[in-house]
């Protein structure tokens, strides 16, 4: 005991064994989101790409083409501005913008909050447009059913080798802007070969959200993966 105040002296250091995942709280929220989507028969897709690959254009085209048969809503992740959500809303779809500030990815809690605003109806599709970045978003489960990676032919065809974690986590690879293939050196065959090296189970579709080429196969993929049989 100390003679000044009678306290028991400086607290002793003690060890606590934790053995807990650093991202445990995100992963638990992601599981909650996943259960919620599943109960509502909602197909949730996490769209991942570099800035400028055409995520928002892919979504506006998809909404325009499917709006008479499917309800689609969108969660837009960007560091700043509501510009992309405005582009989506212009098509008539519901969209909520999440600004991550300095954050380089969306997390599961932000998705839960966005869903509270978005209120997507049962048996619909929710697209989550992640922050344009091929590194960080791969590590954060949002509760989606599938991760969809988007790569455009104006980028390097070796991106699957340079950013293997993202392409390994993805279920689908969309190669976008194929209308520009005559003007660039991008080889879809080599890109697909690299993607399959990193992830032999990845589904690859080639399309152009601008010209519409290949979009029918993308829509078939979406309908096939709806929790309830598509109309």
């Amino acid at each position: 005991m100390c003679s000044t105040c009678g306290c028991t002296g400086p607290a002793e250091n003690r060890l606590i064994r934790l053995q807990r995942d650093i991202l445990a709280s995100n992963d638990a929220q992601a599981q909650n989101n996943r259960r919620w989507f599943s109960r509502q028969d909602i197909l949730a897709l996490n769209l991942l790409s570099s800035p400028g690959s055409g995520k928002t254009s892919l979504l506006t085209r998809t909404v325009e083409d499917l709006k008479n048969v499917l309800h689609i809503s969108v969660i837009e992740g960007d560091q700043a501005t509501a510009r992309d959500a405005q582009r989506i809303r212009a098509t008539g779809a519901n969209a909520v913008q999440v600004n991550t500030g300095t954050g380089c990815h969306l997390d599961a809690r932000q998705i839960r909050q966005a869903l509270d605003q978005l209120r997507p109806p049962p048996a619909s599709i929710v697209f989550i447009e992640n922050v344009g970045n091929l590194v960080c978003p791969a590590a954060f489960d949002l509760g989606e059913r599938f991760k969809v990676a988007l790569l455009s032919v104006t980028e390097g065809e070796d991106k699957p080798l340079k950013y293997p974690a993202l392409f390994q986590a993805a279920d689908v690879l969309l190669i976008n802007k194929i209308d520009l293939l005559p003007h660039v050196t991008f080889s879809p065959a080599r890109c697909i070969d690299y993607a399959l090296r990193v992830n032999p189970r990845i589904t690859v579709l080639q399309l152009s959200a601008h010209s519409g080429e290949g979009m029918a196969a993308w829509y078939r993929w979406l309908r096939k993966n709806l929790p309830l049989a598509a109309p």
Binding site: I16, I22, S25, V135, C136, P164, R197
Partner: protein, 113 residues
Amino acid sequence: MHEMALCAAILEQLEEQARAQNFQYVKQLWLEIGSLSGVDTEALRFGFELACRGTLAEGARIHIEHTPGRGWCPHCQAEMPLNSLLEACPGCAGYGLEITAGKALRIKQLEVN
């Protein structure tokens, strides 16, 4: 990568533990970082120091254990060491090994008072 977000997640867990287990300071912290997790440990150390200023873990010493990567080849039915996500199986030269170890990001232990 997203080391600052990881630091924020670690700090959140430390604060949660401090309430649950009744301690005031974190003196040392032991982490397991898988070598295939894509985390830059120098950035993590730097970020942790910044994230912890003015918190219960200010000045805490951080110890990082790197767990080596391992992969499983479905063709050869064998497990092997894996140094990167791009390695092929040394047996059949096939890609697409399943990662069996090396992706963990875990808080193992704390020293607190």
